[in-house]
């Protein structure tokens, strides 16, 4: 009975879920057993509340996974998952490498996750950084990263960075 109820609750959730866009009729609600997973107890990718409630998270961290594409966007933008496109695994490894490289090149500076976009033959890397370095050093590292990654990925690479005064400027809410 409890399973049934959770399924029912789950299907009610589906009616309101803006991502899936599925509407379920009342008849269906009463009778059928939905095959989709129950959404009530989904915990993956959602931050737990702490006892004191004093840990802060950014806007992006505050959005649960179902909100991807609704209130927050993806961290990798490419077309490798479309039909007929190749290099899906390579793209993933490349993106991961770029993220590690950025972490190593700008130690203690990155304030957000690195977003990698592929547009035509260009790789655009964007992220938010805290301005702990002098601007001159930023320019040096940007030139260095662009040139080295271009030579490694064999395509033009561009960095689009924005700075914030401190990491705490990105605070969205506490949990």
């Amino acid at each position: 009975m409890s399973v049934c109820r959770s399924l029912l609750v789950g299907s009610r959730c589906i009616t309101t879920c803006p991502v899936r866009g599925i509407s379920t009729s009342l008849a269906c609600y009463k009778r059928s057993l939905g095959g989709s997973e129950p959404l009530r107890n989904v915990r993956a990718g959602v931050y737990k509340t702490t006892r004191r409630g004093d840990v802060w998270i950014t806007y992006e961290e505050a959005q649960p996974p179902p909100k991807i594409g609704v209130t927050k966007s993806w961290k990798s933008w490419n077309s490798s998952s479309l039909e007929g496109e190749g290099r899906a695994p390579e793209t993933v490894v490349d993106d991961n490498f770029i993220r590690e490289f950025m972490k190593g090149t700008f130690p203690g500076v990155l304030a957000s996750d690195v977003i990698v976009k592929r547009r035509h033959n260009i790789v655009l890397i964007s992220c938010i950084m805290s301005c702990v370095l002098r601007p001159m050093k930023f320019y040096f590292l940007v030139g260095y990263t662009e040139e080295l990654l271009s030579c490694l990925l064999k395509c033009p690479v561009k960095l689009e960075i924005q700075t914030v005064g401190s990491v705490y400027d990105l605070k969205f809410r506490t949990i």
């Binding site: 390579e90 490498f97 040096f140 590292l141 940007v142 030139g143 040139e147 080295l148 030579c151 064999k154």
Partner: protein, 659 residues
Amino acid sequence: MAACIGKISFAHLSKIQSINICNRSPLLHCQRCVQTAGVTDVAQVKNRKPIIFPKKKKRDELTVLKCLAATVQRDSTAPDYMFIDDPHLYPVIANEKKIYTLAKSSGRKAARYFVDRLPGIFSTNMFNEEASVPGIPDLMPKKIKYEHFDPSETALIERIDMRNVRDAIDMYNEIQDQELELSQETKISLLNLLAYYNSNDPPEEKTPEDMRYLFEKRSFNKTWKDNGPAVKVFNDLNEKTSEAYCAMIRGMTKYLEVEKAFELYEEMKDKGLQAEVDVRTYNGLIDVMRQYPADQEEQWTIIMDLLQSMKESGVQPNVQTFMSVLHFLKGVMTRFREQKVFFVLNEMKAINIEPTLGIYANLLQLIYNDHSRNPEHPFLPQLMDYIQGKDFDLTSKDDIHFFVAAMKVCDLYLHDKDLAFRVDALLHSKDNYKFMIDFFAESTYCNIFLTLICQFEHIDKIMEVYHRLTPNVWSPTFSVYYDILGAIDLYDAYHYLPALWSDFIVFRIITGPKHAQLMIPFFQLVSKKKHPEELQQKFVDTILWVINRWEENIQLNGSFVLTSGVLVGELIKVSLNANQVDLAWKILMMYTKHKRRFTEQISEEAVTMLLDEFIKEKDLDKTTICLKLMSTESFPSLAKYKKQLRELDMTDLEKVVTS
């Protein structure tokens, strides 16, 4: 109305009959239709010109991109593409722009160093796949991988093709040691390479960022290697052909070995190889004529001889030839070059060579430099009529000086603001802005432009141009701000002053040690009269800003410490104009407290204004302090005040006054 249904069959004829197709395009008429049409229709058809379809244009793969690029312009409200568009990271002052640009460039070079050092990692992509298809050579490590190592002619040719000068010289020496045969062609191409690079490896390629700041200047020192590898290869030649001679002369003239170059030229003449000298060699010889040891008359005769021999051997001169002649004329006395400048221009016209902007730049400098004779020569206005709306190619280093030279002429000699705006319009039309590669040329241009229009233009127009250029295109200098303040004074446009003050802070002009230079004229202008309340409040805010920074810097021993009494006087006057007596008093107290630091005396007018205020309020203490200050500074108006105070019968003051 007749509808043409000639060869076309329509499904619904009845509907179409009401539409007159013929009326719209005469080409759609069939013969029958024309015959059956009314008389007026025929007349109309005959009167109309037939449509001529344009021929198909040949387009290359970049045409669409070029077309799209022509639709956009430089957005002066955003920082240059070179910089990161972020408030913390984009530069405002000129020095910052230079440092950031070169920092980015050196970052690129550091990456290039690793790429070239580790060709194993960077020659493929991350998955050991072959490089991108089609490959981009610029993204590959520069690895020197020869196929031939034994001394032979093919190995030498390989090194010459790769332009590795040092390796080519080593290979040549090895071949000579083993006494192997070399063909004449290979020797000549080796000689060409050595002479062109002066037996050094080719210089490193510059990044686009370097081009902005490290623009090469013309050197006047001899750098040619006497008895270097190039001379050795030349002497080793069995048969010295005209090609070999030309290569040597070109190399020698490029690196300013003038006398030997002319010796070789004479040698060629003696051998009867005169007819085979090419135009680049002639250009080189004319170009170094200024370094040739002879007097000007003789040098000019040699140039004329060279041009004559070009004509005899049927060598067509090019733009560079005339540029070299003009370069020569720039170095000679004004009396000597009078008519020769126009001779060069006429000669170019005679052989149908379109001058480049570099030629025009040199002409402008030559014609107007002698300004005592022709200060208002009509050359530039006529030139602007001729080249208006045209676009030019960037062909030589001199091209980038045209706009600066033209603006200089507008400012110094012609004093013509309309012409200056026309020059500016030419710079911004088409893609002519590419001539502003050099950062210093760009800032000089803007400086001269603003200085000129500050003299002749209305203040609104000046500020419009000023806001268009700052801060992204240009960072203004002290002198331009003096001119702008002068123009504001002339037109009583005090409402621009608060914006100008915030620019002083942004450009860090008044936070440096020379802050007083600009603050004195600024506050002198402000203190001239009483302003409307809103504006006056803004000026009070600026004074509060100054005072706060002054206090901070005195505590921290910083650089922003006022040392000019005149400036303090102006600050007091402005605060009194805004009825801020307390603020004025505070400033005076700070002056008396730190009096030792000041290099100049406080102005008398400011103190007397303050004193008047206190007498009006009958504030005894403050009046006393003011009078004491006046007596220590020994102001002449003290006597007048003594008299006035006696009349006012402020008895307690008697002691002070009489002392």
